[in-house]
Symmetry: C2
Subunit: 294 residues, 2 copies
């Protein structure tokens, strides 16, 4: 089968063998925002045509391709949801060259009943075997980071943190960005930001310290962005891990960002296990096993 | 004497009698950013010329006019600082038509030793008599909100919270702004945001709820900005008031914003006393009483 994580800005496809191993992979910047005139079918054929020619006939898509802005809207499936539940809620898409199905996003609510949605992360979570078998916590860092709980082979609940988008807005559109220059994103300044997040004062106070300390020379302009990143990720992790000290957190995402989160998780008393974004391939395979193919 | 609160975007002048009462006032949008070619002397004469003609000869300026981007840089005075300390640290400015002096800003550090600065707020704090006589907490809401402690007639420490600037950045430059339409800034949605801030989950999670709840219809687009404002102000107030439940907080600023903060302070277990920005007039008068005029 072919599994595709088709997001807003990127397209990542995997050709997957019957035993779940990845036979081939390709990626391109043709996320749904970069597909002109909604020509999703043409784009798909161009990207995976060689694999179709090899006889592949089953294609499963996850991510924003199933949103209102994508190819066709796949309604959210409410939590809790196991791979078989997700497979029972796939949306078929007409495509001349293969069977194509869309994975639904998941909906839920946080502990206080506030609505939550995800689209694409569910395939990555399902693709971490130890998590699905033993349960636990998943963290998917990014523009809108997701933290999910898995119990009994089902994704039972999740929350979203706007950490990545807030970082970009603060850096690009507040006084904090004016005294920042490019520098390493990891290392001592990041760790100092994580420690700062654990102190009293609150996030809105802590971030002002980026500017105050740059002005007094206590913080180098090339270290300011990493320090700000540490403050924000530190606040996210400590809120998400509250009451779960000692927990194992499965961090799924690009290796650089996952390493930063692992540092913050350790500082908050948790244990991080890292997985790269290719978890999506195995997740799509697991969902595909339960799907009603022709 | 004449006291002037000369900030980044506004100019507010007070003609003050010998007993400290305000005889006359004027304001204009000629903040330092709106004074072309650094013609501060000409601007000052145009604004207060009629008062100088009445024989006023003593002019005290506070605010960003004393910054590097202003008329002349007035070095920060370290905390703790009483009105007499501030008066002993004034910076003289050459001006043909009257004696003109600049109030220094204050510097300090928060409980963890992180640097802090203020410029202009010190004159407003000094202008609240009950605070200077009995001590207590001052809150000056705004782009960069300040919280200060006064003891024994001196400003002893203060912290900055980037609440107003973060609100503008989130509304203008993140996904949250896309589904916001103009609506009232106070009332039930603001109060719901303040309550939300008191729940677990953290600020970076709470703000995502603005979007999630707008999408599900639980929050009207015209209420979303007030709800976001309540979340941010609620987080600021609860962090600033941590460990000081039952405290009286003197809120100094424009009446609409002060009312919002009073609501959040009450929700966090404090008691708000409100003062308008004209506190700056009495503060400049108090500092002026100790100054070395010719």
């Amino acid at each position: 089968m072919i599994g595709i994580d088709w997001g807003t800005t990127s397209f990542r496809a995997f050709r997957i063998a019957r035993d779940g191993t990845i036979r081939d992979r390709r990626s391109s910047p043709r996320g749904i925002m970069n597909v002109p005139d909604a020509r999703f079918g043409d784009t798909l054929r161009e990207e995976i045509g060689p694999w179709l020619a090899l006889g592949e006939d089953r294609v499963l898509l996850s991510g924003m391709i199933g949103s209102r802005q994508g190819w066709k809207e796949a309604p959210y499936l409410p939590c809790p949801a196991a791979p078989a539940d997700i497979a029972a809620a796939l949306t078929d898409i007409a495509f001349e060259w293969a069977q194509v199905k869309l994975v639904p996003g998941l909906s839920g609510s946080d502990a206080q009943g506030v609505a939550e949605v995800m689209r694409g992360e569910e395939a990555q979570i399902v693709g971490v075997p130890t998590l699905m078998e033993s349960g636990g916590i998943a963290c998917l860092p990014g523009t809108h980071s997701k933290w999910a709980r898995v119990e009994g082979g089902r994704i039972v609940s999740f929350t979203t943190h706007m950490t990545g988008e807030v970082f970009a807005a603060l850096r690009g559109h507040t006084i904090l960005g004016r005294t920042m220059r490019d520098g390493p994103s990891a290392g001592a300044p990041f760790e100092a930001g994580v420690r700062r997040a654990a102190e009293p004062g609150g996030l809105l106070h802590h971030i002002f310290g980026v500017r105050a300390q740059t002005l007094t020379g206590a913080l180098a302009e090339t270290d300011a962005a990493a320090y700000l990143s540490g403050i924000l990720i530190g606040h996210e992790v400590s809120a998400a891990l509250a009451g779960a000290a000692g927990a194992v957190v499965h961090v799924i995402g690009n290796p650089d960002l996952a390493a930063l989160y692992a540092t913050a998780i350790a500082a908050c008393g948790g244990y991080a296990e890292r997985h790269d974004g290719e978890a999506a391939a195995l997740g799509l395979f697991r969902i595909g096993e339960h799907a009603a193919w022709r």
